[in-house]
Structure formats: structure tokens, C-alpha cells
């Protein structure tokens, strides 16, 4: 009588297809995956603990480093939570600038996903194309905020700087050229036979399972759930923009791919709308206790210098209470839950990481499938370990 025996294989933490330091222990029956145990935490830096000893302003740079492909979106989720706690209004120009930057960031994040996902499956050319366009976005960020990967552009109450001269033309050039580039990507993949064979019917998750496992973002929409934080709880004047939420039908890797491609199109369109209708006015709230004064003023005026010093050194006292604010980050719903005890730093800051919950559903996607499809499934949920491990 033949003996059935399962083979245990270790994948990661240093494996190119796990997109960071994720370790999976796979149990195999031949080539079929019987069980998977993910081991997380290789990139745990204790951001939630660290935030408890920092002032509200000092936490912003920490958020850049969560999902480092989506720094603007992380900034936005955090500042929205603090603004909600304080109950302050953000000027409309700042809101539009935030929308424009987070949508450009979403394009950049999706481009990384597309390039690396395609590379994992064997289509190498795409990565080079994707990084060409991403470079343009990072150049825009560098001109606007001074930083590329971790721009720390947003401030509580607004944004750090207004647009520099001439950048609007650069952004316009980008949003006009991008739909053409998107066609290039589609030509390479959407009807490519190898791509279809590696992605269609692979990594399936049903609508009900996706909801039950707390999956959000393009991974949820790929399963046919029309839900997006930007539509459900519009923040930062998203209700003034014209856009649709693309959804998939089958809940497989291919549908998640299509959903993200359509999202790229819509993000580009939102960024263009924000640029065209950019209102004039201040870029940060007028509340002198919270908002930092402009750098120019700090160098010229003693009152602004004192105000700047006070806010930077001791911060501000937030009211006692607890708030939750979330945004549609490139990976899904990114939320910040802040408990305040009335002091100048968060009493507890909880990050609701979309990648963490999406990765939780990986088990559902790959058990019963082939080991080669594990690569496609991981690529399709688009995880970033900086956010999972925090």
C-alpha cells in the first residue's frame, strides 16, 4: 500500500516573490497546497507603541514608513483622524491638493504592484515601463514636497507647501500621457496567453468569504463587491469628483488585475479633475494652536517663530475622546483609531492595516491550488510588509 506523505516547504522570508520579508510554510501533497502557515513580524518596528511617546505632529513621518509605496495615502489617513479628533476644517485648496497627490501616489503604488506581479509570473518587460512612469510621479513629489519615497507632505490642518512654480504643467503632461502608457501595458498582458493561463481561475475567493475575512480594496472589488471608502464615507471632498468603482466578476487573480488597471485609469482622471478645478486660497487651516506657520513667516516674524517653536516642541493638547478615520489606500481600507486622554500625544494609536487582513485571506485563496499559483496569488493581493508588521 502506498504511503501518503505531505512535504513541508519553507518559502521566504528572503524570497523574491513574497514582496518583502514574509515567510510561508507550505504543506504539499505533490504539487497541491494542503496547508499554509504565514509567519509575520520580520519588519515589526512597533510603530503603534512609538506613536504613544510622540506628539501628534511627530507621528506623521512614521506613517510614511508603513506602506512605503503609498506614503501620501498613509499621511492622509492619519491627519484625517487627528483633524476629526480636533474638529478642524481643512481649506479647500488643501483638500484638492491632498486628493491630487494621493491619486498620483495610488498610480505609483499600482505601478509597482503591476511591475513586480508581472515579473513574478515571468513578464519582465513591464517592470521597466512601470518604473519609467513611476519615476515621473516621484519627480513631481520631489518638486512638491522635497521627498520621493517618504515625502511627509501632509500636515495636520492642510499640506506643508503650496505647489512650486511650473509643476502644474508637469502634472498636466503626465496625466495627458498616462492613458497612452496604460494601453502599452494592456497590449503586453491583457490578452497574453501565458498571462491568462497563469491568472484566470487562480487564487479564487468568493464575495461572502472576502467580506467575512475582512478583505478590502481591489482584492475585495475583484470578487464583485462594489465598495470603496471614497464612495461610502467620502473624505477630503471626494464627493465632488466624478469617478466610478470598477469591480470584477470571478474573484480570481485576473479579475483583480483588471480592477487595478481600471483603477489606474480612474485615479488618473481624478488627478486631472483636481488639477483643473484646483481652488485658490490657503493651504493650511487658520487655527494657530494646531497648524504650523509658513516657513517664510518663521524667518521674518517673531510671533510666528514662537508659535512654530511651541507647536514643534510641545505640540498641542487634543480633546479627550476616540476617533476612527479611514481612507481608501492603494491596498484597501487604511484606518487610524486614536484614543486621546487630553495630552499632546496619542494615548493609543491603532492602525487598521489593509494588507494584514488581505493576507489573512491568503489561506482561502491558495489551499487546494498548485504551488506555482501561490506566487500569482501573493502578487495579486498586493501586500507590503511594512504595513503588515508595522
Amino acid at each position: 500500500m502506498a504511503e501518503t506523505r505531505f512535504m513541508t516547504i519553507n518559502m521566504g522570508p528572503q524570497h523574491p516573490a513574497t514582496h518583502g520579508v514574509l515567510r510561508l510554510v507550505l504543506e504539499l501533497d505533490g504539487e497541491v497546497v494542503v496547508n499554509v502557515t504565514p509567519h509575520l513580524g520580520h519588519l515589526h518596528r512597533g510603530v503603534e507603541k512609538l506613536a504613544e511617546s510622540k506628539t501628534y505632529h511627530q507621528v506623521i513621518p512614521l506613517t510614511d514608513r508603513l506602506d512605503y509605496t503609498n506614503a501620501m495615502g498613509n499621511n492622509l489617513a492619519y491627519v484625517l483622524a487627528v483633524e476629526k479628533l480636533l474638529g478642524i476644517e481643512v481649506p479647500r485648496r488643501a483638500q484638492y491638493l491632498r486628493v491630487m497627490m494621493t491619486e498620483l501616489q495610488r498610480i505609483a503604488a499600482h505601478l509597482i504592484w503591476l511591475g513586480t506581479h508581472a515579473l513574478d509570473i515571468g513578464a519582465m518587460t513591464l517592470l521597466l515601463y512601470n518604473f519609467r512612469e513611476r519615476e515621473e510621479i516621484l519627480n513631481i513629489f520631489e518638486a512638491v514636497a522635497g521627498g520621493r519615497l517618504t515625502p511627509t507632505y501632509l500636515r495636520i490642518g492642510g499640506v506643508s507647501k503650496d505647489l512650486p512654480e511650473g509643476i502644474e504643467g508637469k502634472i498636466r503632461e503626465f496625466v495627458q500621457a498616462f492613458p497612452g502608457h496604460l494601453k502599452e501595458y494592456e497590449t503586453l498582458l491583457t490578452e497574453n496567453v501565458i498571462w491568462l493561463k497563469r491568472t484566470k481561475g487562480v487564487g479564487f475567493i468568493s464575495k461572502e468569504d472576502a467580506i467575512n475575512w475582512g478583505v478590502t480594496g481591489p482584492t475585495l472589488r475583484g470578487s464583485g463587491v462594489k465598495w470603496d471608502v471614497r464612495k461610502a464615507f467620502p473624505y477630503s471632498s471626494y464627493d465632488e469628483f466624478d469617478f466610478d468603482i470598477p469591480i470584477g466578476l470571478n474573484g480570481d487573480v485576473y479579475d483583480r488585475y483588471l480592477v487595478r488597471l481600471r483603477e489606474l485609469e480612474w485615479s488618473n482622471s481624478i488627478a486631472r479633475q483636481a488639477l483643473e478645478r484646483l481652488p485658490k486660497g490657503p493651504i493650511i487651516a487658520g487655527d494657530p494652536k494646531v497648524a504650523l506657520p509658513e516657513k517664510e513667516m518663521v524667518l521674518q516674524d517673531i510671533a510666528s517663530l514662537i508659535r512654530h517653536f511651541k507647536i514643534v516642541s510641545e505640540g498641542f493638547q487634543a480633546p479627550v475622546g476616540e476617533v476612527y478615520a479611514s481612507v481608501e489606500a492603494s491596498k484597501g481600507e487604511l484606518g487610524f483609531y486614536i484614543v486621546s486622554d487630553g495630552s499632546n500625544h496619542p494615548f493609543r494609536m491603532r492602525i487598521r492595516p489593509p494588507s494584514f487582513l488581505n493576507l489573512g485571506a491568503l489561506h482561502k485563496m491558495i489551499v487546494g491550488g498548485l504551488i506555482a499559483d501561490v506566487i500569482s496569488a501573493i502578487g495579486s493581493i498586493d501586500i507590503v510588509l511594512g504595513e503588515i508588521d508595522r
Partner: protein, 156 residues
């Protein structure tokens, strides 16, 4: 929504607070499972999405922990925050059988706070390694770590 909850569990709604239009309901830990089950399966409420679950440490208050559940209903586009108080050596019933999402979230609360969840199928540490001592998000755990001032000794 609150009215329905109060009708169904008259003795369990300890406190209802609203801050910045967010509703928080505090319930006793003995009833958390039944209440969650009701909120998830009730045809009018349908809180079938567990957005988040986390712990908060209020040391030195007793009971020191709060477990916070953030529920979301796609049907009504409504959020609800549930809270329950748990002491240091007590356990709270796991909601993993209602929402699978709770599996990892409860493991994380166990890992970082040491809150134990009864009937959880696989309650192990998730972010820190097995054999790690202490729970970092507790208020009496130093930010720089417990062994910050000790010399590094890879043999130990």
C-alpha cells in the same frame, strides 16, 4: 440601531457614547459573543464586516484592558464601535467563528497586550516570535524595550 440592541439585550448595554458622530457601545464581556452574533446576523442591521479589533491598555485602572470591535454594515453604510472591559488574567470570548477576520486580529491583541481569547482555534503570537517575553503595547512596558541597558549577548 441602539434601540434594537437595547430591546434585545436590555441588561447588556452599559453605556452609549457619541463623539464626533461615532457611536460607541460598552457591553459586558460575558455577552460579547451573543451580541456580535446578533449584530452580524440580524436582517435589519447586518454588521457582517469586522473592520477592526484591537486592545487598549488603561493601566493602572482595573479592569485594565478594553477590547474594541469596529463593525461595519454594508447594507446600511453604518459603523458601530463595541467595547468591552477585560482584566489582566481574564479572557474574553473569541468572535472568530462569526468573522474569520478576527482570527489574526485577536492573535495580534493577544501578542501585543496579552489579552486571551477563549475558544480561539489558534491563539499564538503573530508579530513577535514564539518565546518572546512580555507584551509591548502594555503601558508598563518601556518603549525602548526591557533589555535596552543590558549588554548584547547572542549566547544567552
Amino acid at each position: 440601531m441602539i434601540v434594537r440592541l437595547q430591546e434585545k439585550f436590555p441588561a447588556s448595554v452599559l453605556e452609549v457614547a457619541t463623539f464626533r458622530e461615532e457611536v460607541t457601545v460598552t457591553v459586558p464581556k460575558e455577552d460579547i459573543f451573543e451580541i456580535c452574533k446578533f449584530l452580524c446576523s440580524d436582517p435589519d442591521l447586518r454588521f457582517e464586516f469586522l473592520t477592526d479589533l484591537c486592545g487598549v491598555d488603561f493601566f493602572p485602572r482595573t479592569p485594565r484592558f478594553e477590547v474594541v470591535y469596529l463593525l461595519y454594515s454594508m447594507k446600511n453604510n453604518q459603523r458601530l464601535r463595541l467595547k468591552t472591559r477585560v482584566g489582566e488574567n481574564e479572557s474574553v470570548s473569541s468572535v472568530e467563528s462569526i468573522w474569520k477576520a478576527a482570527n489574526w486580529l485577536e492573535r495580534e491583541a493577544y501578542d501585543l497586550f496579552g489579552i486571551s481569547f477563549a475558544n480561539h482555534p489558534d491563539l499564538r503570537r503573530i508579530l513577535l516570535w514564539d518565546g518572546y517575553e512580555g507584551h509591548p503595547l502594555r503601558k508598563d512596558f518601556p518603549v525602548e524595550g526591557p533589555d535596552f541597558d543590558k549588554p548584547f549577548n547572542p549566547e544567552a
